[in-house]
Amino acid sequence: MFPMLRQILRAGLISEPAPIADDALRATTERLTLALRKQLGRALVIRHVDAGSCNGCELEIHALSNPYYNLEALGIKFAASPRHADLLLVTGPVAANMEVALKRAYDATPEPKLVVAVGDCGCTGGIFGESYACRGKIANVIPVDVAIPGCPPTPLQLIEGILAAIAPAK
C-alpha cells in the first residue's frame, strides 16, 4: 500500500486545464438547438464506435482519460451502451461490414443525440476513400454534427471538438 501511495504523491496532480470549444469544427448548426444544449449542459455521456479506423484515433481517444486530460473532470464520460449515450464519437471510414452495426448503434442512441466524426477518415474517407468494401466518411451513413480532422487528431483537438458539440455558440 505504501509504495502505491508514495508513487501517487510523487506523480502529484498533473491534470491540465481544458481547451475551449472550437466552433469551426461544427458541421451543422441547426441540430445544435439551444434546448439540446440546455438539456445536456456540460454533463455528457459518450459512446465510441469504431466503424473501420486504423486504430490510431482509438489510441488518442484512450488518451483523453489519462491524468493529463482527465476528461471525466469535465463531466464527460464514456458509456458501454449507446442507450446510455448522448453523443456518438465515431471513427472510421465506415467499412461496408460495419455499416449495419453503426446504423444500429445510432438508432439505439436516444434523442436528442449528437454525432462527432473523428479523424481525416471519419471526415472525408481519408486515404481509404470509397470502394466495394468502404463507404467513406461517417456522414455518408449517419448524420454528423461535428467533424474533427487530423490523422489522428490530438487529444486536445478531440476535446475542442467534443466541447464544440455541447458548448453554447458564441
Binding site: 509504495p3 502505491m4 508513487q7 501517487i8 506523480a11 498533473i14 465510441h48 464506435v49 469504431d50 466503424a51 473501420g52 479506423s53 486504423c54 486504430n55 490510431g56 484515433c57 482509438e58 489510441l59 488518442e60 481517444i61 484512450h62 488518451a63 482519460s65 489519462n66 491524468p67 493529463y68 464514456f78 458501454a80 451502451s81 471510414p93 467499412a95 461496408a96 461490414n97 460495419m98 455499416e99 449495419v100 452495426a101 448503434a105 481519408g126 486515404i127 481509404f128 476513400g129 470509397e130 470502394s131 466495394y132 468494401a133 468502404c134 490523422c151 489522428p152 490530438t154
Partner: protein, 515 residues
C-alpha cells in the same frame, strides 16, 4: 540454394535487408517443403495470392507462401490453373494457414481444397463471385446485407451462447466473439473478424512506390512504424537502394519508441482490468509523456509518416538526443517501481497467474509468434533471429517466459520495455552522421519483401511492381493472423469475466488483419 534437404532451387533476391530467397514450385514439392519446414520446427510467416492472367494464360493465378528459415526469409510461389485455381489445404500442416486461406478465397477466388470454406473477410456485403483482387474486377458498390454466419454450435444441457460485438463495450476495435458457456465457464470461443475490411490491398494497386507508404503506415495505427519500415524495405529492394546508415538507426529508434509506447499502454490497461486503476493512471501518464516527446522531437505523437522510402522524414538534434536519454532513464526508474508494485500486489497476481494459459506445446502447434509467443517459450524475434542493421550491432536480448498466462505476457512486456529503453539510449548515443534519405527509383516487374519485428510480432510486406513501375500487388501481413486462433484456446476453461483481461494481454490487431 536448397533448404531443408528439399530439391527446390531457391534464388537469393538482391538488395534485401534480411536474406530473402524465392522459388517457383509445383504442388508436390510445395507440400513436401511445408512438411519439412514443419518437422524442422520452422514457421509459416504468411500466405497470399495474386492474379497473373495477364502474364500466363494457362497458369493464371499464384499462391505465395513465406517461411521463416534459419537462413532467412523464404518465399515459395505455386502457379495455379486459370480454369481451376485450387491447392491442397495447408492448414493441416500449419493451422495458422486456415484463416489466411479463407481470406485468399474471398479476395482472389483461389480455393484451398477441403479447407474451411466459410468466408472470412466477406460478410455478405459484396457478392461471392466479386473477387476484388482479380485484375479485371470492376470497381463496383453493393447494397449492405445481413449475414447469417454458421458458427460452430456446442450442444448439451445447460450450454448457452454469449454473443459479443462487433461493437464492444469499451474503446476498442470491432470484432465478434461467440462464447459457448456453461455457467461462467467458457467451453468454446469462436472469433468472427473482418469487420474493418476496407479493401486496402486493392487500394494499393496502381499507386506509386512513394505514395504507397502512406497507406502502409495506416494499415494498423499502433504499428505504423513497423508497417512503414517493412513497406520501405520492399520498395528499397525494388529500387536497389540502400538507405543511409543514419536513416536506419533513426528507424530503429522510432520502432523501439513505438514498442515502448504500446507496452506502457497495455500494462496500464492490464492493471485496470483487474480493478487496479492506479496502474492505468500511472502507466497512461508515462505513455502521455512518451507521446509528447514524440510530438516535440518528431512532429507526430504516434510517428505516422516518419519513415519514408529511402530513409526517414525526421532528424534528431543533440538537444533531442539528450531529451531522449534523460526520458529513458526516468521511465526506466518509474517502470521498475511500478513493476515492484505489480509483483507484490496480491489481488493483481491472483487474477494474472494461470489465467488464459497457452502452453508452450500448444503455442508451438498453433504457430504462435511475437510477444504472445515469447510468453509461451516461442523464441521468435527477428531482431535476434535475423538481425539486420542496426540491430546487428545492438545485440538485442530476447524476452522469454514459459508460463503462457496473463502474468507471463505482462512480464514479457516489462522485460521488453527495459530492453527497448536500453536500445533507444544506445541508438541515440551511437547515431551515425550523414544524410537522412536517398532517392528510390522504382523498377518495372520486380518484387521486394520487407520484414520487421513490430511490437506485436513480425510484420511482412510483399511488394511487386508492374510494367509501369507502379504497385501491382502489395500484401501486408500482420502477426495477429497467427495469434488470434490461440486466443480461442486461451479462453477455454476460464470464466467469461476474465476474457477482457486475457484479450488485453494478447492485444491483437483487428485493423491489421482485416485490411
Amino acid at each position: 540454394m536448397q533448404f531443408l534437404d528439399q530439391a527446390i532451387e531457391f534464388k537469393l533476391l538482391a538488395d534485401h535487408a534480411t536474406l530473402t530467397y524465392a522459388a517457383r514450385v509445383g504442388e508436390r514439392d510445395l507440400l513436401a517443403f511445408c512438411s519439412a519446414a514443419h518437422r524442422a520446427e520452422r514457421r509459416l510467416v504468411a500466405l497470399w495470392g495474386s492474379d497473373e492472367r495477364d502474364r500466363d494464360t494457362k497458369f493464371g493465378y499464384a499462391l505465395h507462401l513465406a517461411f521463416d528459415l534459419a537462413e532467412g526469409l523464404c518465399c515459395l510461389t505455386l502457379p495455379l490453373a486459370t480454369n481451376q485455381p485450387e491447392f491442397p489445404d495447408l492448414a493441416l500442416i500449419f493451422p495458422a494457414a486456415e484463416r489466411m486461406q479463407r481470406a485468399l478465397r474471398d479476395l482472389c477466388g483461389i480455393t484451398a481444397q477441403d479447407g474451411d470454406q466459410r468466408p472470412w473477410l466477406r460478410h455478405a456485403n459484396w457478392p461471392a463471385d466479386h473477387y476484388p483482387l482479380r485484375r479485371d474486377t470492376p470497381d463496383l458498390r453493393f447494397e449492405t446485407a445481413n449475414e447469417d454466419y454458421p458458427f460452430v454450435r456446442v450442444e448439451g444441457d445447460g450450454v448457452h451462447e454469449v454473443a459479443v460485438g462487433p461493437i464492444h463495450a469499451g474503446i476498442i476495435e470491432p470484432g465478434h466473439f461467440r462464447f459457448s458457456v456453461m455457467g461462467e465457464n467458457v467451453l468454446r470461443l469462436e472469433e468472427r473478424l473482418g469487420w474493418k475490411h476496407k479493401g486496402i490491398e486493392r487500394r494499393f494497386v496502381g499507386m506509386t512506390l512513394a505514395d504507397g507508404v502512406r497507406l502502409a503506415g495506416r494499415v494498423c495505427g499502433d504499428s505504423t512504424v513497423a508497417y512503414a519500415w517493412a513497406y520501405c524495405q520492399g520498395a528499397e529492394a525494388i529500387g536497389g537502394t540502400l538507405p543511409p546508415p543514419r536513416a536506419l538507426w533513426l528507424r530503429a529508434l522510432l520502432l523501439e519508441r513505438e514498442r515502448v509506447a504500446n507496452h506502457l499502454g497495455d500494462l496500464g490497461y492490464l492493471g485496470n482490468d483487474v480493478a487496479l486503476s492506479f496502474g492505468l493512471a500511472q502507466f497512461s501518464r508515462l505513455r502521455e509523456d512518451w507521446l509528447r516527446l514524440n510530438a516535440r522531437l518528431f512532429g507526430h505523437r504516434l510517428l505516422i509518416d516518419r519513415v519514408i522510402p529511402g530513409g526517414v522524414a525526421v532528424d534528431l538534434t543533440a538537444e533531442g538526443t539528450l531529451a531522449i536519454i534523460e526520458q529513458c532513464q526516468a521511465v526506466a526508474a518509474e517502470v521498475r517501481r511500478l513493476k515492484k508494485i505489480y509483483d507484490e500486489h496480491a489481488g493483481l497476481q491472483d487474477r494474472f497467474l494461470s489465467t488464459g494459459r497457452v502452453t508452450p506445446q500448444l503455442a508451438q502447434r498453433l504457430g504462435v509468434i511475437g510477444l504472445v509467443g515469447r510468453a509461451s517459450a516461442q523464441a521468435w524475434d527477428l531482431r535476434c533471429n535475423h538481425p539486420f542493421d542496426p540491430y546487428e550491432q545492438l545485440a538485442v536480448q530476447m524476452a522469454i517466459e514459459r508460463n503462457g498466462d496473463v502474468a507471463a505476457r505482462a512480464l514479457v512486456r516489462f522485460a521488453e520495455i527495459a530492453e527497448s529503453l536500453r536500445l533507444i539510449q544506445s541508438i541515440a548515443a551511437g547515431l551515425p552522421p550523414g544524410v537522412l534519405r536517398t532517392d528510390v527509383h522504382s523498377a518495372p516487374e520486380r518484387r521486394g519483401f520487407g520484414w520487421i519485428e513490430g511490437w506485436r510480432g513480425d510484420v511482412l510486406v510483399a511488394l511487386e511492381t508492374g510494367v509501369d513501375g507502379k504497385i501491382r500487388r502489395c500484401h501486408c501481413h500482420d502477426p495477429s493472423w497467427q495469434n488470434w486462433p490461440a486466443l480461442e484456446h486461451a479462453a477455454i476453461d476460464n470464466i467469461v469475466p476474465d476474457f477482457p483481461l486475457i484479450n488485453k494481454s494478447f492485444n491483437l490487431a483487428y485493423a491489421g488483419q482485416d485490411l
